[in-house]
């Protein structure tokens, strides 16, 4: 720490770690597009209550007398429904913005829980070893050998639907990825000399884990987290589509699509299409980003 203050001010952006990272990342135009889109979508989602023309959760504002209107129609109170309305008279644009918000919130919170829990289990597994390690890793194996959507489905069936239950189900299907990877990195770090030295110096185990091992596990964790974010949005949408996800009055993108599905062949396609495009764009942008990160951290492609 004592030598860096002199060096830092003279370093150019492109030479700092973040700059290097960005230079490498931005080599892919698609990845830059993904990042920009993701930022826009997240901003729009979280500003939804401010920018949406209607609060679709407020029943005073939603009028079923305006149901199933096509895009551009004028409602009973004189307002224009830019993207039309759904079967309950919700403004599709507002429903879409709030749906995006719901999807992001579920995905991010489940990811957070899975990340913390999975990391913890991975560290415990690596550090405790023996039967604890075996037990945790067998659970991880079993969990990972099943298609995620099936596991999530069984959980939703067992515990019922609702935001909290959806988040729980998504966290359960994701933690194993983090646990396995953290364990792998931690095992490598654990056998390094500096850790052995710290152990000899009787530094508390918790401190070793927190200060030395965990920071070294972070880069792969970030890659997995970025992959999992896309997949969490996608799994939640699938669950909601099957009628197992969110409550009907607080629809996520998946549920909006599912609601409109019955109207698709009858010609009222707008109910499904707009949320469908929003979902496609979201997952695509997130995946472009995570795909780039994965490539950057894959040593085999660095030749």
């Amino acid at each position: 720490m004592t030598s860096t203050p002199l060096a830092r001010p003279t370093m150019r952006f492109s030479e700092r770690p973040l700059g290097r990272f960005w230079r490498e990342y931005s080599q892919s135009h698609a990845a830059v597009f993904g990042l920009v889109m993701t930022l826009i979508l997240i901003a729009v989602a979280f500003l939804a209550p401010l920018i949406a023309p209607q609060d679709p959760y407020d029943l005073m504002q939603v009028d079923f007398m305006d149901s199933e209107l096509p895009p551009g129609a004028i409602g009973g109170a004189g307002q224009t429904y830019v993207l039309g309305t759904d079967a309950n008279g919700r403004d599709m644009l507002s429903a879409l913005l709030f749906g995006l918000r719901a999807s992001f919130m579920v995905a991010l919170s489940s990811l957070g829980i899975a990340l913390v829990f999975g990391t913890l289990m991975g560290l415990v597994s690596a550090y405790a070893g023996r039967w604890v390690d075996s037990l945790i890793m067998r659970i991880v194996d079993i969990q990972m050998s099943f298609p995620t959507i099936l596991v999530a489905m069984m959980l939703m069936v067992t515990f019922g639907r609702g935001i909290d239950k959806t988040i729980f189900a998504l966290a359960v299907v994701q933690w194993a990825y983090f646990a396995r990877n953290v364990r792998a990195s931690a095992l490598v770090e654990r056998s390094r000399e500096y850790v052995l030295a710290a152990q000899l110096a009787q530094v508390p185990t918790f401190r070793i884990l927190w200060r030395h091992i965990l920071p070294n596990c972070l880069p792969p964790l970030m890659v997995i987290a970025s992959i999992q974010l896309a997949s969490a949005v996608s799994i939640e949408a699938s669950l909601s589509f099957l009628g197992l996800g969110m409550p009907v009055t607080q629809p996520s993108l998946g549920m909006l699509i599912s609601n409109g599905f019955g109207y698709l062949l009858g010609g009222k396609y707008w109910i499904s299409v707009a949320p469908g495009i929003a979902l496609g764009l979201t997952v695509f942008s997130l995946s472009l980003m995570s795909d780039r990160l994965r490539d950057m951290f894959n040593p085999r492609l660095k030749r």
Binding site: L59, M60, V62, D63, F64, M65, D66, S67, E68, A87, N88, G89, G160, R161, G243, P247, V248, T249, G262, Y263, L264, L265, G266, G267, K268
Partner: protein, 533 residues
């Protein structure tokens, strides 16, 4: 008294077919094939396995009951040609002579006894037919063509209940289980169509019974394909794969109407959607009725008749039906549809009056309103849509409503455990008489006697109970109907114990070569279809 039915024209009882027959004289029906697209598969083709409408509709083509339910759900003679009943509940059924089963064996009173004996032995039945025989004390065959039945009271609903009890032959049925029906081995009835083959849950085939005792069946062969998905069923009709479909989704009405080669056949059903309200708990069920800050109200507001009345007034039923349900229903004034025995024409559809509702709530001590949770199951699209509309309307009246929907499988056990205080349910009056409805959803809960089994808000009024009980043992039709009408008025127009919402329609669609007689009992089978001329 006697319910003699002189006509032997089994299929000709519908007004439309009478006109047709008059025009054609006794002309033989053309050899034709009917292919139907069914919305749901029967759970079994054993006619005694599961009392639900898909099952009864399908097996009703092969087997017959002593009586027969027409499209208005009125009972007519079928395998029983006529019947007499004495004051103390002894019924004598005179069975039709010269009727044979599909295997050529004659039909006798002993087959009826065998059938009645069989019903309680069906194990694993999710919903046994024994309920249809609940009024019966004992039965015996007097001779080959006379059956004596002793009932527990006057049992005016016996003829309609017997319509669903389809008679199987003792010679064939002895020792047979549900499996033998599923394989087709025991599918030997007296009905207008013979069973040919089935791929369970997919396709069922039937052929005309040339030796049928009644009017010659209209179709040479009948194929029923199960197409559960709504758009797929419509597509199959439009592409010509099937001639007739059941349960037309409302989203496709306009498509079918616009097509000159297609026909829609629609009727009101016996099914009424209503809101059940918890009027038993002194304190509201936790979380179900709260003040605006979210704390449980000290007293259950629904105990006050004015609040219930206000909630009913706040609902714009005409708007709900027109916009929310795309006109696939009628606004409901009471718990049975118009035309049903016991329907009270003096009860109007509650007029929509938002200001009146607010005033009434203020009068009841809730000028600022309160919050409630309204719940239903999400398996029924119409109910799922109406719950959101009702929530909007209540919220506008000041009762801020949160909607909770869940799968049927979760909802029903929870309502049985009284976890919800305000629920949208629906109820079909399958017997065609209001007594069944008033007893089932408005009667004081009494599991011993099977009263109020679906009374999930536990509304209770001894006066209503007394009238319904009296009606159940009143054989005189006019007196019985008067009792039921008065009871109905008390439940929905004085007590507001249950809030009726809408009466749903049932709709079939066919190509131009088929004429369908829509049935209030929502029966989808070949008996109600005939070739167009």
């Amino acid at each position: 008294m006697s319910f003699l039915d002189s006509s032997r024209m089994y299929l000709a009882r519908t007004a439309t077919s009478l006109v047709l027959l008059a025009a054609l004289g006794a002309a033989p029906v053309l050899a034709q094939e009917l292919v139907m697209g069914m919305a749901s598969a029967p759970t079994s083709i054993d006619p005694h396995f599961h009392a639900n409408s898909s099952n009864i509709s399908m097996t009703g083509q092969v087997f017959e009951g002593l009586t027969w339910k027409d499209e208005f759900m009125q009972p007519h003679a079928s395998l029983a040609e006529s019947w007499d009943v004495t004051e103390d509940g002894v019924w004598t059924f005179h069975l039709r002579q010269g009727v044979t089963f599909h295997n050529g064996e004659p039909f006798t009173a002993d087959d009826v006894v065998f059938t009645f004996d069989r019903l309680p032995t069906i194990t694993d039945s999710p919903s046994p037919f024994t309920a249809r025989l609940a009024d019966i004390e004992s039965y015996r065959a007097i001779d080959e063509h006379t059956l004596e039945v002793v009932t527990k009271g006057a049992a005016p609903n016996l003829p309609i209940n017997l319509a669903d009890v389809q008679i199987v032959s003792r010679a064939v049925g002895e020792g047979k289980t549900t499996d033998d029906y599923v394989t087709g081995e025991a599918m030997i009835g007296t009905g207008p169509y013979k069973f040919v083959s089935a791929r369970i849950g997919e396709v069922y085939e039937f052929a005309r019974n040339d030796d049928y005792w009644g009017e010659t069946p209209a179709w040479e062969t009948v194929t029923q394909r199960v197409i559960g998905s709504d758009p797929a069923r419509v597509a199959a009709l439009l592409s010509g794969d099937v001639d007739l479909i059941s349960d037309v989704p409302v989203t496709d009405f306009s498509t079918i109407e616009a097509n000159p080669d297609m026909r829609l056949w629609s009727t009101g059903t016996s099914s009424i959607a209503f809101i059940a309200i918890d009027v038993e708990h002194e304190k509201p069920i936790p979380g179900q009725a709260t003040d605006l800050a979210g704390n449980d109200l000290p007293v259950n507001p629904m105990l006050d008749q004015r609040v219930r009345h206000a909630l009913s007034m706040a609902i714009d039923r005409v708007g709900l039906v027109e916009r929310g349900l795309s006109n696939d229903a009628y606004p409901a004034s009471q718990l049975v549809p118009e035309g049903m025995f016991g329907f009270n024409p003096d009860i109007p559809v509650e007029p929509f009056d938002l200001e009146g509702a607010k005033a009434l709530l203020a009068e009841a001590g809730y000028p600022d309103g309160f919050k409630v949770v309204l719940s239903t199951s999400n398996d029924d699209t119409m109910r799922a849509r109406s719950i959101q509309a009702v929530a909007q309307m209540w919220t506008r009246a000041g009762v801020q409503t949160t909607v909770e929907t869940m799968p049927h499988a979760v909802f029903i056990p929870k309502t049985n455990d009284f976890e919800y205080a305000h629920m949208i349910h629906s109820w079909g009056t399958s017997t065609g008489e209001a007594a069944y409805t008033l007893r089932g959803i408005a009667g004081t809960r009494d599991h011993e006697h099977g009263i109020g089994t679906s009374n999930r808000g536990r509304y209770s009024n001894p006066e209503v109970d007394a009238m319904v009980t009296e009606a159940s043992s009143t054989v005189d039709d006019a007196a019985r109907e008067e009792l039921l009408r008065r009871a109905m008025a008390i439940v929905v127009a004085e007590d507001y114990g249950l809030i009726p919402l809408y009466n749903r329609k049932a709709t079939w669609a066919s190509n131009a070569s088929v004429v369908y007689t829509p049935s209030r009992a929502n029966v989808s089978n070949a008996l109600f279809a005939r070739p167009a001329e």
